[in-house]
Amino acid sequence: MLIVDVLLAGFTLGGMYALIAMGLTLQYGVARIMNLSYGEVLVMSAFGTWFAVTRLDWNPVAVLLASLPLGYLASWLIYRVLMMPLVRRSGAGPALEVDSILATFGLLFLLQGVLLLAFGGNYYSYSYLSQPVDILGSQVAANRLVVLGFAAAIGLGLYLLLTRSRLGTAVRAVAVAPRFAPLVGIDVWRLSAIAFGIGGALVAGGGTLLSMFLPFSATMGVVFAMKALVVVIMGGVGNLLGCLVAGLMLGFAETLVARFVDPGLTLAVNFALFLLVLLLRPAGLFGRVAR
């Protein structure tokens, strides 16, 4: 059935976009770091998964369980070691945004260079649960269902962490009013490192999930970072619900256009949608204009 096809494809793609964008919005909205090397972390995780699956014979789901904490640890370290000097130097000023863009731009090329050296420029993939499953008369690869399920579970877990735990509430407090956070004993730098780390866990998990159903190459990180940024801005910076809605919108727009018009137009539709949202709501779908 066509409609089931479109729904499943749209939810899988959109869910992936939403998941990746949630990590970026944590890094930008809480830690105030515009991380341009974000997509490279995604691709590194995808290659790491490929290596573990094809060379070490791991199950991709087991790799996912490892890539979440590894992504957290690596990103936490990036914040503490590479970003901390910039954070200290900027005080709480706007210089941090420019400095972090330049620093992570450098990191982007460093990571991409390492990947190109190790894997070259070709597309990689492995086969995992690629046999079709029949859902309401539609044939769909089982791996996409697994990906969709895990993306939803990780997104839900993040939502619960941020809204139901004291640590998560503190992360949101830093996002909305970093100046006031010390009044309740919150160490803003410590929380920023944690939020940056959680963002890294999400994108590393996203990389592993992506590798389960899409081929990937060393240079495609930029595309994902760009799409994640589009989703973040469309949804409203720092807003998780915005990420979910904007991510799904983008996923469905791409699926519909690729299906009914022309696959070559997906990127154009992405940005047309982006422009339309920004024209109507400049602060994003769920964003509030800063006062």
Binding site: A173, R179, G185
Partner: protein
């Protein structure tokens, strides 16, 4: 309880606070009177670690030196600041703001009790626990700010112009709550432009002028002093109260 000595703050060349010394005891309300620009806000910000202190300052709470601590450690040591403008998390709910008040470890042990206490102190908050603070009136936001500070079980509460922009009714309710907080054993250092009302509930007071402490005494004595009455209570010399 709280003993401050040699506290100075400098903004560039301007000396905003000059060698200030003061004490706040357990269960007393100490009022800091002063004109605009006298350094009242700088004093509270300096104590709370929100602005840089000049070297040589001593801020001792129950014998523990706090002058070296960063802002986020001060509240955990027992000094809770409610800044001018309240400093609440507007996008978060009342419940979340209060829960964050207990973020420091000292607030965790009696969190449930303190949560109940804050709601008894400000019954208005009980009905609005799940409302975003940004959508509330100024007086209600002030209650959230004071309640959040109380959730950290502070030994000393520092309040910067809590009545600013509040209706007379809200103002009265707030000052009654402050008196009850004092009666529960918490020390309160209150910076206020509303000198009449703050001296009415206060135990002692200091006069701050040009960044220096120029006078002190019991609230009753300050309230009766003709010079204080002229400067802060808007009563002319010789006029009957």
């Amino acid at each position: 309880m709280l003993e401050i000595a040699g506290l100075s703050v400098r903004y560039g060349k301007h000396l905003a606070l000059d060698d200030v010394a003061l004490k706040v005891g357990r269960g007393e309300i100490v009022v800091m009177l002063g004109a605009n620009g006298a350094g009242k806000s700088s004093l509270l910000k300096a104590v709370g670690g929100m602005v840089k202190r000049e070297p040589g300052a001593s801020i001792r709470l129950a014998g523990t030196e706090l002058a070296g601590l960063p802002a986020h450690r001060i509240v955990g040591a027992g000094l809770a600041l409610v800044p001018e403008g309240r400093g609440v998390f507007g996008e978060l709910t009342v419940r979340e703001n209060l829960a964050l008040g207990a973020f420091p470890h000292r607030g965790r042990a009696a969190e449930a009790d303190n949560f109940e206490r804050v709601q008894n102190l400000f019954p208005r908050l009980r009905e609005r626990l799940d409302q975003a603070v940004r959508t509330m009136s100024g007086g209600e936001q002030q209650m959230v700010a004071v309640g959040r500070a109380l959730m950290s079980a502070p030994a000393i509460l520092l309040l910067d112009e809590p009545s600013l922009g509040l209706s007379p009714l809200m103002c009265k309710e707030l000052f009654q709550a402050l008196a009850r907080i004092r009666d529960d054993g918490t020390g309160v250092l209150l910076v206020e432009q509303n000198a009449r009302q703050s001296l009415a509930i206060g135990d002692r007071g200091y006069l701050l002028e040009g960044g220096r402490v120029v006078g002190s005494g019991s609230a009753a004595a300050l309230g009766a002093d003709p010079a204080v009455r002229a400067a802060y209570l808007g009563v002319a010399h010789g006029e009957a109260a």
